[in-house]
């Protein structure tokens, strides 16, 4: 009903008895467009670095080597693609779940433009070699300061919106947004503490073992609180909307939410199994990772079981197709994660492409497909028109799924192959492959397969871009913010 203009005069109650308000949809449209644009850029860089591994001449000089572009790829897809996607989801759903407009349109715009400026700064500074070397936290201190400022503005805007809500209770999606906003702030500041040497060079205050611990506390929970909790919030809003079915279990929401936010933080040290980090810390990391399995699957269950009685809708709904694949990949990678954290499995997988396969199952499957599903659901609503082509969207779905499968299969086989070669001894008790190069040459064919998979996935995103462009072209000129009316109640 929110896409309608104000209720007609005939049905409108007496002015004193209703509260009329609007939702800021323009900001959501801005974040949706930014998601698609940066998604394309981030994945294009991904395809380039995938080419650089089997074909070194694709390292195009000083500023475009694998070493400099890989951080650009990870930052772009995490913070630009997934970041803008969760902001779109949060700005769209929070307003509706709280029955109020965002607290401040100005803050929303500062958040949007500040975030885009940070991404542009990343795209410039990383190829120039300004980097801290800490994974997913490569950006140097001036950009880090900007991230902190923009995030705080976003947080204030969000919490003030909660304060002025017209709904007594907060829906589960909001819980996940709260966890996201608080934890990302804590992680970002905790891991970025450094002393500047020059405008684009700093040394972290931590050294060696402590620095490693802080980095992977951050790194693992960037996955948890930037790529998992906000996407669970997204799922809890957009999935029941698209399926038109109630959420499966409220009490499961409660239990899996609190266990997830409490346990996730402990899992960081599993990235440092068998390193110089004291073994007790890695034991904690491993056992808590194993404990994380069911809390993660709680989200998957609540997602998939919500579709009970609505599975037939999948046939005609590309949105639901995308969501189901996304949630399935979430379930797969949150089983694989605890498994990889088990020390004896990690002994084989660590330092190999298995890890790369694992993160891409999560990133391409869960983050990517949930984002695409949301975008296809939002497009006709935000631009008040019909989706230009359902068939093209379905093609995107299939081409993306196939690309993803090729990608992860290639990486699993490459990772396991290389891991086994590294540890192989001959009958005389000497390394079977003493020359590291032999283990590299062996996996180069898998790198080509990965490149094909990644290219297919990117092609899907390009199809989505075409579909978006054509849909938006057919949108009405004026897109006024939808208004909404509720009976006036005394606000708590």
């Amino acid at each position: 009903m929110e896409t309608k203009a104000t209720p007609s005069a005939a049905t409108r109650p007496a002015p004193s008895a209703v509260d009329v308000f609007t939702y800021d949809e323009k900001i959501v449209r801005m974040f949706v467009l930014a998601t698609a644009i940066w998604g394309f850029v981030g994945m294009l860089v991904g395809v380039l670095i995938a080419l650089q591994l089997p074909f070194w001449p694709a390292n195009l000089g000083e500023y475009l080597t694998f070493g400099r572009l890989r951080p650009l790829h990870t930052n772009a897809v995490i913070f630009a693609f997934a970041g803008n996607s969760i902001f779109a989801a949060i700005y769209y759903s929070t307003q509706r779940l709280c029955k109020t407009r965002m607290f401040s349109d100005a803050m929303s715009r500062i958040h949007f433009w500040g975030w885009q400026a940070i991404i542009v700064a990343a795209a410039i500074t990383l190829p120039m070699g300004f980097t801290t070397s800490k994974e997913y936290a490569e950006l140097e201190w001036p950009v880090d300061v900007a991230i902190a400022v923009v995030w705080v503005i976003f947080a204030v805007n969000f919490f003030m919106t909660l304060k002025q809500r017209r709904e007594k209770h907060m829906y589960v999606a909001i819980w996940f947004y709260i966890a996201t906003i608080i934890t990302v702030a804590v992680l970002h500041i905790g891991n970025s503490l450094a002393i500047p040497v020059s405008l684009f060079k700093s040394y972290p205050i931590y050294a060696g073992v402590q620095d490693a611990m802080v980095q992977w506390w951050y790194g693992h929970n960037a996955v948890a609180f930037f790529l998992t909790t906000p996407f669970l919030g997204l799922m809890y809003y957009f999935l029941p909307k698209a399926a038109e079915r109630p959420v499966f279990s409220y009490r499961l929401s409660i239990v899996h939410f609190w266990s997830l936010v409490f346990i996730y933080i402990w899992a960081g040290p599993h990235h440092l199994n068998y390193t110089a980090l004291p073994e007790w810390a890695t034991t904690l990391g491993m056992t808590f990772s194993v404990m994380l399995w069911m809390p993660s699957w709680g989200g998957m269950i609540n997602g998939l079981f919500t579709l009970r009685g609505a599975w037939h809708k999948l046939r005609d709904s590309v949105v639901l197709k995308m969501f189901v694949i996304g949630i399935t990949f979430y379930g797969m990678s949150t089983f694989e994660g605890p498994m990889l954290s088990v020390k004896s499995v990690n002994a084989l997988s660590h330092y190999t492409d298995w890890t790369i396969g694992h993160v891409h199952a999560g990133a391409l499957g869960w983050n990517g497909f949930m984002t695409f599903g949301m975008i296809y659901w939002l497009l006709p609503r935000l631009w008040r028109t019909k989706l230009w082509s359902q068939r093209l969207a379905t093609t995107h779905f299939w081409i993306g799924t196939i690309g993803m499968l090729l990608y992860v299969m290639a990486m699993y086989s490459s990772g396991v192959t290389q891991g086994l070669m590294w540890r192989a001894f001959d009958e005389a008790g000497r390394l079977l492959y003493p020359d590291f190069m032999e283990t590299v040459v062996q996996i180069v064919p898998m790198y080509w397969v990965r490149l094909i998979g990644g290219t297919l996935y990117l092609t899907g995103v390009i199809l989505m871009g075409i579909n978006m462009y054509q849909t938006i072209k057919s949108a009405p000129k004026e897109l006024p913010d939808p208004s909404f009316a509720v009976p006036k109640v005394a606000t708590a």
Partner: protein
């Protein structure tokens, strides 16, 4: 539990209190980090000191920062794990005390190329120069890109005293004297490496180039622990 999550239970009340909810979330996410991190700082036995582990020389600091700039850590780990096959391939496994002066740590997470934490002294200086210039000249099937610009770009010596001062601020014990002679020390070490490269028929005139700093850093990797085990063997 039942009372907590039933339809009108305590949790339902909590859903109406964003501030309390947010505080509880904050506490939940802080516990794990505090339990895992604080003992690493406070309990000294977690990071036993190794007497032979010394701070990097000024030139090595410059080289380390180049290693970071080029993103070498994206493809090379610096952490040998305690497995027999890694000991055979690389050498002694990594000890907590080895990296106490490393801001940031460079253990890495992926081995597209081999581990480098024991590479010091394994190859001659000239090997590294040629390898950076054209990796396939020393490792025919290598997939590593060339870093030829390191042989052309001038090394910034002037910033070294500032770098040492900042590192001292975060806990690396450089003396005033070491900071004062940082440039001279770095130039002397650079000249020695450049002379060695030239003496072995490598390119000449590298003493002001970035490559010598990177070579100095690579040649240092693992040497402190080696000195420690040699010292132990003597006793």
């Amino acid at each position: 539990m039942k009372r907590f999550i039933k339809t009108d239970g305590l949790h339902r009340k909590l859903e109406g209190w964003p501030l309390v909810f947010t505080i509880l979330v904050t506490i939940s996410i802080l516990v794990g980090g505090v339990v895992e991190f604080v003992p690493l700082v406070l309990v000294k036995s977690n990071v036993p000191r190794i007497a032979t582990v010394k701070p990097f020389t000024p030139l090595e600091v410059a080289g380390r920062d180049l290693y970071i700039r080029e993103g070498c850590n994206n493809c090379h780990s610096q952490m040998v794990r305690p497995f027999r096959h890694e000991l055979e391939r690389y050498g002694e496994y990594g000890k907590p005390g080895e990296t106490v002066y490393e801001h940031p740590f460079l253990w890495g997470s992926k081995r597209t190329g081999p581990d480098l934490s024991r590479v010091g002294g394994k190859y001659p200086n000239l090997w590294h120069v040629r390898h950076m210039q054209d990796p396939r000249s020393t490792s025919p099937r290598s997939i590593m890109p060339p870093y030829a610009w390191l042989l052309e770009k001038e090394l910034d010596f002037d910033i070294l005293p500032t770098k040492l001062r900042r590192l001292r601020a975060v806990g690396v014990p450089y003396s005033d004297e070491e900071i004062a002679r940082a440039v001279a020390d770095a130039q002397a070490q650079a000249r020695a490496i450049a002379a060695d490269v030239e003496a072995n028929k490598g390119p000449s005139g590298l003493e002001n180039k970035e490559i010598v700093a990177l070579v100095a850093f690579l040649q240092r990797l693992g040497m402190d622990l080696k000195a420690s085990t040699q010292a132990q063997a003597l006793h």
